[in-house]
Symmetry: C2
Subunit: 403 residues, 2 copies
Amino acid sequence: MNTTWMQAASESGFGLDHLPLGRVEAAGRTQAAVRIGDRVLPLAAAADRLSPVPAELLQSDTTSALLAAGPQVWADLRHSVQELLGTEADAITLTTPIRDVKVLLPFDVADYVDFYSSEHHAMNVGRLFRPDSPALPPNWKHLPIGYHGRSGTVVASGTPIGRPNGQTRPTGSADPAFGPSERLDVEVEVGFVVGVPSLLGEPVSAEAFSGHVYGVVLVNDWSARDLQAWEYQPLGPFLGKSFATSVGCWITPLAALESARTPGPKQEPLLPYLHDPDPWTLALDLELAVNGTVVSRPPFASTYYSPGQQLAHMTSNGAALRTGDLYASGTVSGPERGQVGSLLELTAGGAEPVPLDGGRLLGFLEDGDEVRISGTAAAANGGRVTLAEVTGRIEPAGRSVAN
Amino acid sequence: MNTTWMQAASESGFGLDHLPLGRVEAAGRTQAAVRIGDRVLPLAAAADRLSPVPAELLQSDTTSALLAAGPQVWADLRHSVQELLGTEADAITLTTPIRDVKVLLPFDVADYVDFYSSEHHAMNVGRLFRPDSPALPPNWKHLPIGYHGRSGTVVASGTPIGRPNGQTRPTGSADPAFGPSERLDVEVEVGFVVGVPSLLGEPVSAEAFSGHVYGVVLVNDWSARDLQAWEYQPLGPFLGKSFATSVGCWITPLAALESARTPGPKQEPLLPYLHDPDPWTLALDLELAVNGTVVSRPPFASTYYSPGQQLAHMTSNGAALRTGDLYASGTVSGPERGQVGSLLELTAGGAEPVPLDGGRLLGFLEDGDEVRISGTAAAANGGRVTLAEVTGRIEPAGRSVAN
């Protein structure tokens, strides 16, 4: 084996202990793939080298069959790829430089749920959006608040983000206006990708998390704050969110994050259906950069509700899971200003812009701004696992029907 | 041709002027089908008799390809089925009694959006849920309020509905409890099924409605009012709705509802992006029955925002449409008590139960209750088009994780 490229892969955070799953156009076909360093292993072509994973799962043109196959197949895939790439001298010939393939959205998104599980974020937003009410709603410490987003506009990292048009009611105005959002924001989130479905009417407990969830993607839940503020009462966010949600192109399997497990924050007593006998979360160190300047470092482990509790809550009414369901943590914000996951919080609603390298003062996003969310976690070998980044460049508002 | 069965089909509201699209298991395969009276025409087997509709669209195991194909193919399908069934002597031999096939969910649901477009419903609910605020939120007359629901739990008419468990906060209690919903309700709605997708970043105007929307299904947006009341602030309904949404099994094409077109209610001035040069809605006469007693007759034409305006609003931020997107009107309520689309309204929040035949007093739904939503519209021939009914029987709450 060529130890040089494997060494470089490991140092990039995409080594043999990571092996995230994605979907590419390579060798003339759309197929599932595993990333290793700056190369990809397309799985269809390698199917006969990845026993005991059933070949038909590897030869699909999506990742759905692999995601649905469950923990044993996920483990078999991981071990067989590690064996192939780690010990076979010709392994590199099965891989392709990532620059030579088209990297696609890594899974077909079924339902998309967005939670609101960071206490610091909920407090910060409550103060800004509802200054006359308690910062934390009365239900917040009893249940992980969440809502459904638009799965049809979940896009792959790198997809340009058009500034949305929409209705807003400018401060001091009685009537709303329609036009490009002037308060375009990001939300730094961590998303969980469901592989194994569940039956309608059968709740899934927090303990059963690892039997259903394949892995993790970083999420940018783009938000037009001015549209959101005017529309969201009484039925929640709609067009202020539904124009685009960006996700990382490689799903990090939970198996690669074993060393990142950590107990979650201390919780107030919860109803039994939200109990997790082994409460845990993930110590993911996130970073938000705008035009190359890191403006925040949100700590995911500070999120109040765990991924297992979110899953248990989401299915507690009997709602079924489907392969490809995505649920995101909600904006991750730590207690410090340099740890918040949105510009709304970072700039106090735009009132306190922050300087970027080169002198630009960052309030909300301007056309041409480049946003990058990245993250790492401890790896078993003492190094780091790199979560696939989420990037997006803001494009000017497009035509509106009114034009 | 056998005029007797065709005459009976016409009298049932499923005659040659209707021809709704669905999906069945018949002749050993899953396929698209058209309903005629109490029979179905499976389309795969009849593909060579339905020129000029491309055979590959008819031979798919879902309706997606036909829905995506657009207005010209929709018209060709309609005319070729009318020609086949209306003039060919052997046509009945191509059909199968509906009792001999398994009728499935008629389309793969992409995103599900639920609007809130009935002014009477919004006022009634506002008074009950937010007694200290104006009944109509300040944004209501400026935009059609809506939110995303769970597409993975949209089920076919007839699917049993398990009473959901969930968190509620009983009146007078400081802390919430977890258990079966005690305020299980219905919402009588009309849903619109998108066929032709749109591009991300490209708004779809109200005028373009007929180029994208294939047809109409009745919808029961089951609602657990006690879960909803506790969870819905600040991000909207979630588990109070996501346990199940039932839809009719046959999509009525818009072409069958030409005679039902009627101007919508007079509107206050709207922003230009919501203008419809030919404002219209559909005069659909709906009926809600519980255990065989009709308890309400909601008039769809009273809905404030039109289906075209809902489409324009939903895409005004550039959100893309996908084949199979379902958007529902929101609960349809007319001005009279006998015209409301929910038991919440009909019984004043449960305080004023209404008698069913046989003496039962109906408040919210009890286990074993059978709910039926039906509807008709004027047909071109002076008769009626029957919308496919939506039924569901309430089953006792299932196990909860806590048990």
